[in-house]
Subunit: 193 residues, 2 copies
């Protein structure tokens, strides 16, 4: 799956619309207007609307997978790994707020099987990066074992999602990274032994 320059531009514009107006707001008219050309030009780059959404989700999935793999490779301490992962996410969304839709991709669920598959893939990737870190932390006696790793991951993921939601609902009014780090600190305080 190679994505051409123009396709990436379209995906970015689509993300922007999705993040600010939701699925119902993503129309070919709006998307073409944001790109500065007519609606019909969209179909030179994608088969249709569904393909645009799926390609966007697949791109975000691959990108996140790469980023998160890279950002922990030289770190051993599980707590520092968690810090690195979330700082990486905060940085990414601060630089690319248009892709915040990735965090709330469930909102895109409709009747389309392939879109749903892409969404599940995104969630699986997030999980793939977090769970081993929690497990490692518990094994090393750094993270609480009174709660199952699954639950701790759930708590971290849920808090992260809500944090990003509040950021979007506030119209990006506060510093996600700063506030996010304070929140992560609170969570770590609670889950550390």
């Amino acid at each position: 799956m190679e994505i051409k320059k123009r396709q990436l531009e379209i995906i970015e514009a689509a993300g922007e619309i999705l993040t600010e107006s939701g699925l119902a707001g993503l129309t070919t008219k709006k998307l073409a207007a944001k790109m500065g050309f007519g609606e019909s030009a969209l179909y030179r780059h994608f088969k249709g609307k569904e393909e645009i959404i799926i390609t966007m989700l697949q791109y975000l999935n691959a990108d996140m997978d790469k980023r998160l793999t890279a950002c922990v490779e030289n770190i051993n301490d599980p707590v520092k790994k968690l810090d690195a992962v979330f700082n990486n996410q905060f940085d990414f969304f601060q630089q690319h707020p248009q892709f915040l839709v990735a965090v709330f991709s469930e909102g895109l669920m409709e009747e389309s099987k392939s879109i749903n598959a892409a969404i599940l893939q995104l969630m699986a990737t997030k999980r793939k990066h977090l769970l081993p870190i929690i497990n490692q932390g518990q094994l090393q006696g750094i993270i609480e074992t009174t709660a199952p790793a699954e639950d701790i991951m759930h708590i971290i993921m849920g808090s992260f999602r809500l944090h990003m939601l509040q950021w979007r609902m506030s119209d990006f009014a506060f510093d996600v990274k700063k506030k996010g780090n304070k929140l992560m600190e609170s969570i770590l305080t609670l889950i550390k032994v």
Copy 2:
């Protein structure tokens, strides 16, 4: 704001469609079909689609406010209050899964000012019930004070939301209450002193 029988039926049908297909899926055609009458009959009961959504959100807000107030009034222990609040929520959504849209109401955000106001009201009500309990728990030395009450509430709310999301995504395949109580137990373990 009194809601008539027929209006409540329409609101329930609308919730059902919103929960399973999202905002884009809520069309007058589908809604009328679910009600067993023609589209035009909808306009005997509501001014339009927007009014249906707003009335639904206001109804859910008032209902939740009443429920949550009632369910803690004879309880003193903050931890038991939290338990009561969440068991009440689990019970409600188990009985009325069509109203799960209330938990993910942000998905309804569009250009409509009044819908956004109704959504913010819902979130404010949830907050109104939770925060005093956490504060009380911290004052009584039952809940950790190493993390601010705001953050603890954030963690609880975020975990609850993600739990409900997974329930919906699984097509209501597991027992929300049972699994939810296990999750709440894990959270309480972490936040109790």
